[in-house]
């Protein structure tokens, strides 16, 4: 049963990464596409908490780092999404209840994730990102993530609730 769960989770992450590079590239705004893997991690954090989301963030980030058009140093998106998963998991008790709080969480996570990725790029000079470009890309990516959240997040939340192992009350 838990192997099946892991398989479904891996499938969701692969689907998110592939949609992001192969389908949403047709709908990109100046090259910016919604970061679906990040939304998956946030959804996991809202349902299952920080540790689970951090693990999922690590795997999802590695998938973005390794899937073909990527050319940056491996581990940079993994780092950003581990932090995002952990942070989103810490605020989940407030954000799990209302839709507005969930959207705000996605926006904050998108900002933190993309900024962390840009910062790690600046530190490593991989590529040497000018601050101006980062400041242009980050707001657009936050907006785009918020825009797709109402369509994607409810489905993901329901999926993660279904996947949650039945637990005994403490």
């Amino acid at each position: 049963m838990s192997a099946l769960r892991a398989l479904v989770l891996a499938g969701v992450l692969v689907l998110a990464v592939v949609l992001q590079v192969a389908v949403f590239s047709l709908l990109s705004v100046d090259g910016v596409v919604p970061n679906l893997a990040l939304i998956v991690v946030v959804a996991a954090a809202l349902v299952r908490g920080p540790e689970f989301a951090a693990v999922l963030g690590f795997v999802g980030g590695l998938a973005i780092d390794l899937a073909p058009p990527a050319d940056h140093v491996v581990g940079r998106w993994a780092l950003a999404l581990v932090v995002v998963g952990y942070l989103a998991g810490r605020v989940r008790h407030d954000a799990g209840t209302s839709a507005v709080a969930a959207v705000v969480t996605v926006a904050a996570c998108s900002f933190v994730g993309t900024s962390l990725f840009a910062l790690s790029g600046m530190l490593l000079h991989d590529p040497s990102i000018p601050v101006g470009e980062a400041l242009q890309v980050i707001p657009v990516s936050v907006l785009y993530d918020v825009l797709v959240t109402p369509f994607v997040l409810p489905v993901l939340l329901r999926l993660f609730r279904r996947l949650e192992p039945h637990q005994v009350a403490y």
Binding site: V21, G49, A67, G75, V83, I129, V137, Y170
Partner: protein, 296 residues
């Protein structure tokens, strides 16, 4: 993993361990230089994700033509009076059979390009584009080592130079676009034969521009001059004589004793579809290689 109950302090060990794992990966990959210890992992992931991306792109391709209609119409609306030729092409696009006709025209253009330059081309389609959030301008094409594609080959389409192959997996390859900030191409001005180095700005889309630093600061450059590739030794990574773009503006700075020109590329990087990879004449490929003598 036990779920954390509300009010209980979460276990910090897991995120910290994962962060350390990320830092280890980054160090391994960044310190490795040209041959990273993670290359086998990358190529395995390429073999896994590549076919999935190709299939997905093939499935959504029919729908891709729909926004293309509106985008092109909008873009050309202002230019219609000035560009009668463009206008007729636009009407023919609106007429309906848009996509396949464009494809045929692109293929025709590439065949003609191959005739005039004498290069052999492996045709390929762009199946995935790297997001701008990753700050590198790369695309995936659906031809890999089985089609004769290797790293450091020139990629072009019927408009001009697109970029070069960074990495080739079995069925897909990653292409670094001209517009990427890490991309440097040797360019030669068509009118004065002056040479210079062309760098990307990281922008794609209709405002994509490239910067040309000319070697000779006293060279005369006129607006509208066309720029072609200068060519490298043995044609890797760039073969000679491929059109890149035209000069949009010229700046000279006496202090730095250099001349800088801004180039508008001929290629539209956001609507890349059919591209050709320049290969050696005798390359064995699982698909038809376009050569000057026709397809074989």
């Amino acid at each position: 993993m036990p779920p954390t109950s509300p009010g209980r302090r979460p276990n910090r060990a897991v995120p910290v361990l994962l962060l350390l794992a990320c830092l280890t990966l980054i160090t391994l990959d960044a310190r490795g230089g040209s041959s990273s210890p993670l290359d086998p992992v990358r190529s395995a992931a390429g073999d896994l994700f590549g076919p999935v991306e190709s299939t997905t792109a093939a499935a959504v391709r029919p729908f891709a033509a729909v926004p293309e209609h509106f985008r092109t119409t909008n873009q050309l609306r202002g230019d219609v009076a000035r560009l009668e030729a463009e206008n007729s092409r636009l009407t023919s696009r609106l007429a309906g059979t848009a996509l396949s006709r464009n494809r045929a025209a692109e293929l025709d253009g590439m065949l003609a390009g191959s005739r005039s330059t004498g290069y052999a081309l492996v045709p390929a389609r762009v199946v995935a584009m790297g997001p701008a959030q990753s700050f590198s301008r790369t695309v995936t094409i659906d031809a890999g080592t089985t089609s004769g594609v290797r790293p450091d080959l020139t990629v072009l389409n019927n408009d001009g130079l697109v970029g070069r192959v960074l990495r080739a997996d079995r069925s897909t390859a990653t292409v670094l676009l001209l517009a990427d900030q890490e991309s440097v191409v040797g360019g030669r001005l068509g009118s004065s034969m002056e040479i210079g180095f062309l760098r990307g700005r990281g922008q794609v889309g209709s405002n994509a521009r490239l910067d040309l630093d000319l070697v000779d600061a006293s060279a005369s450059v006129a607006k509208g001059d066309s720029l072609v590739t200068w060519g490298s030794r043995n044609g890797a990574p760039y073969v000679a004589g491929i059109p890149i773009g035209r000069v949009a503006a010229v700046y000279s700075s006496p202090r730095q004793q250099s001349m800088r020109a801004v180039i508008t590329p001929y290629v539209d990087f956001t609507s890349l579809d059919l591209v050709g990879v320049v290969v050696d004449k005798g390359t064995t490929s699982d698909r038809t290689v376009i050569t000057a003598e026709g397809a074989n």
